[in-house]
């Protein structure tokens, strides 16, 4: 820990094998994900203060929701991996194949003519 580290719990507590209660996870996963970095809206650094919406840290989320920071970290990490099922990986492969084929057919040359690669509707993939 350094003097600049304002995280409220020590490394040993944070990195232990802490398992979040599944009921607590179900209750808070939506809120934690929305407050975290997962779904970003205007998160870019150096945007004007009135526009930028920096994601909250786990410590900030814990304070806001009155939860243990270890539970917040676990809820966030589990939810990030839990959001999409394994079928998403199959869709991912189809997406990349379609995108690569589209690029091969058009490529960046089309962009300079204002004629970009065709849109891909997942329903058509």
């Amino acid at each position: 820990m350094t003097e600049h580290d304002d995280r409220p719990t020590a490394r040993g507590e944070l990195t232990g094998f802490h398992v979040v209660d599944p009921e607590l996870y179900s209750e808070y996963r939506g809120r934690v994900v929305r407050m975290s970095n997962s779904h970003q809206v205007n998160i870019n650094e150096f945007l004007p203060d009135a526009v930028r919406q920096r994601a909250m840290t786990d410590a900030e989320i814990a304070a806001e929701l009155n939860l243990d920071i270890r539970d917040v970290t676990e809820i966030r990490v589990v939810a990030e991996h839990d959001e999409y099922p394994i079928e998403e990986y199959e869709a991912s492969a189809r997406f990349k194949d379609a995108a690569a084929e589209s690029y091969r057919n058009g490529g960046v040359k089309n962009l300079y003519k204002g004629d970009p690669p065709p849109s891909r509707n997942p329903a058509e993939i």
């Binding site: 350094t2 003097e3 600049h4 580290d5 304002d6 995280r7 490394r11 944070l14 990195t15 994900v33 970095n37 997962s38 779904h39 970003q40 809206v41 205007n42 998160i43 870019n44 650094e45 150096f46 526009v51 920096r54 994601a55 840290t57 786990d58 410590a59 970290t73 966030r76 990490v77 990030e80 991996h81 959001e83 999409y84 099922p85 394994i86 998403e88 990986y89 869709a91 991912s92 492969a93 997406f95 990349k96 995108a99 690569a100 084929e101 589209s102 690029y103 091969r104 490529g107 960046v108 040359k109 962009l111 300079y112 204002g114 970009p116 690669p117 849109s119 891909r120 509707n121 997942p122």
Partner: protein
């Protein structure tokens, strides 16, 4: 007798010329204090309290042939961020051993809470190694997508500062947005159409950018740790021992295990928003 103050501009030039010779395509110096408003724990001073400057290196993008392969699987397996990390480590060693100042090549792996050690985007933008993009990666105006590495040091090097003209949106993207309401990246991977990216362009600037980090991670780490965990969950909940065997020895899990064991070379598994990006596109075409 007092020690003479070095010419920091000369020191900087020698260091940056060295890394450019070693293979970096971009080498800039940024002010760590510009990262004061990033999330606590991901600021330069959180990692190196003595930090006075950040050296940001970029390069090692996929080769032109890889960008142009009709098989998406090629780009899925050519992540080369480790080459930039190696150059950064060598520079940090040079600073400490030859100049006697603290230097740290920031780890590019994940921190204890599954987050990066540093806000690499903010560091790159602060140093002028590129500008933020609608797609997400920092884009260098000339080279487009590059892998990044950041060296924090107590050396008081002169800062380059952010670039004045953002690389994104490119003029052709503004033109396309005006015509169709999408850019190449938001067209190919649209957040409202099963993808990761969204946003508008107004007066030549990106506004209202939206990004689904979880979906993007599943595509970028398609055959890697997230996919491994997803299969493991299926396997552990499968009561039929023979079906468990099919899952574990099947092609998806086998491919995933190969990727994990090859480590870095298989981490960047989705480049589709960058493949269509016009920034640096002239570098992705040969005869």
């Amino acid at each position: 007798m007092t020690e003479e103050e070095p010419d920091w501009q000369t020191v900087k030039s020698e260091l940056l010329e060295g890394v450019l010779k070693r293979g970096a395509m971009v080498a800039r110096v940024g002010d760590p204090d510009l990262l004061a408003d990033v999330a606590p724990g991901q600021r330069p001073s959180d990692l190196l309290p003595q930090v006075k400057s950040m050296i940001v290196l970029g390069g090692s993008a996929p080769r032109v042939g890889e960008w142009n392969s009709p098989r998406a699987e090629v780009l899925e397996t050519v992540g080369t961020s480790d080459r930039m990390a190696a150059i950064g480590s060598a520079l940090a060693r040079q600073i400490e051993e030859r100049l006697g100042y603290y230097a740290m090549n920031v780890p590019t792996s994940t921190d204890q809470d599954d987050k990066p050690f540093l806000d690499f985007t903010a560091a790159a933008v602060a140093a002028g190694a590129g500008s933020p993009s609608l797609a997400g990666p920092v884009l260098h105006p000339e080279h487009g997508f590059v892998y990044l590495t950041v060296i924090l040091t107590s050396l008081p090097l002169p800062f380059d500062g952010p670039i004045e003209q953002p690389a994104c949106p490119a003029p052709s993207c503004v033109e396309m947005y005006d015509q169709r309401g999408v850019t190449p990246c938001t067209d190919v991977c649209n957040i409202d159409d099963g993808g990761c990216l969204g946003g508008q362009i107004q007066d030549g600037l990106v506004i209202g950018r939206r990004y689904d980090a979880n979906r993007c991670r599943d595509r970028v780490y398609h055959y890697w740790v997230p996919g491994y965990q997803a299969v493991l969950e299926k396997v552990l909940s499968e009561p039929d021992v023979e079906r468990r065997k099919m899952m574990l020895y099947g092609s998806y899990f086998t491919r995933t295990m190969w990727s994990i064991t090859y480590s870095n070379v298989s981490q960047g598994q989705c480049f589709e928003c960058m493949r269509v990006c016009p920034v640096g596109a002239e570098n992705r075409m040969l005869k």
